[in-house]
Subunit: 219 residues, 2 copies
């Protein structure tokens, strides 16, 4: 950052507050700023959305974190699924959660969002379903599945979406969910589809979040 | 393609027809196949959508062609706008249209779509508005604008979208539309927004198409 003492900037705390500020001192290792008036940050969606995303290969998971932050999710829950080619221990040793958190901060900055979604520790698929099953709501989750799955599915535009304060959206890996996973999820999730085409795994979150936010009249 | 004589494959004509086929002869330069039964291709959206996209920098326009083909657009109209850093003659000499057409074919293959959108010759912004103005429908275009634009805008989820056979969606470049462009477009387009955040230019098409297809109950 080539900013000098006295120059104006904007700072945000990642939890919805944004301020004008001025640089007071700046060295190679630290910067002190004086906070000015609070700014009106762009409003957050009324539905706090948790994206429970199966971990994708290589840099694709980075793209999902970047794009879903831009779309306005409240939190991201990475999941290890049967067809995801990773283990939780490899994610921990690779400090992937910390990397994704940094990407979320940088994406929030870029899109003018004063709230940074929390990146949760990766969980196994069954742990996520267990957590959803313990909620008091009937079928609290929304699981995105391929059209023509064996189980009963609903098109996003036919969903009966009551106004709600939060929701969890489950999106699978490149190879899709296994039948066992879909059957297990059906106890806690509605199975939803978005159109009849095969979508690339790394843009599914943008498509599904856009469709849901349209249904909830956020868009 | 490492396929050998006698091996089965699927072929499509790019205009909605897909067939089973078998390789009859194969050399380094050509392949002859025998067509088998016609396959049921994934249905196309009922609304034939033309994406009129301001040309983005570098490889980002390639991504837009790839992603909007996956989303199901019927045609792509590249537009040269005031803030797009290209000219029509540089696009012609760089054979960009031909490149985008190849990308559309490859994306259609990947997502199991038997229809390849047509990529039109790039036009100037004014030419696109002139063409829309000549249509008999009132306000035939939908122009995506930043929230808080000077003119009257409508959220996608509040659009009164009658069932229609075709629509044109205009999306701007990285730097956005100029005020003059927005004012000029307002004579032929409804100005629409998708939420309050700043979206990256290269994913705007996925967000806006998802929202519109949800409103039209394609999703």
């Amino acid at each position: 950052m080539r900013l000098k003492v006295g120059e104006p900037l904007r700072v945000f705390n990642g939890r919805g507050r944004e301020f004008e500020a001025t640089i007071e001192t700046a060295s190679a290792s630290s910067v002190h700023v004086r906070l000015g008036p609070r700014l009106e940050a762009a409003p957050e969606p009324r539905v706090a959305m948790t994206l429970a995303q199966a971990i994708l290969k290589g840099a694709k998971m980075d793209d999902v974190v970047r794009d879903s932050t831009m779309m306005g999710v409240a939190a991201i829950q990475p999941i290890v699924t049967e067809r995801a080619e990773v283990t939780r221990s490899s994610l921990t040793s690779g400090q992937r959660r910390e990397r994704w958190q940094r990407i979320a901060v940088s994406s929030a900055k870029q899109c003018g969002r004063a709230t940074v979604p929390e990146i949760y520790e990766p969980l196994e698929f069954d742990q996520v379903i267990d957590a959803l099953s313990k909620m008091t709501l009937p079928l609290p989750g929304l699981m995105l599945v391929e059209p023509g799955a064996a189980m009963k599915t609903t098109s996003v535009s036919e969903l009966d979406l009551s106004p709600q304060r939060s929701a969890t959206l489950l999106i699978g890996p490149e190879g899709g969910w296994t039948l066992t996973e879909v059957e297990r999820a059906a106890t806690a999730c509605r199975l939803i589809t978005v159109g009849g085409r095969t979508l690339r795994a790394d843009v599914m979150c943008v498509v599904a979040l856009s469709a849901l936010f349209t249904m909830w009249r956020e868009f």
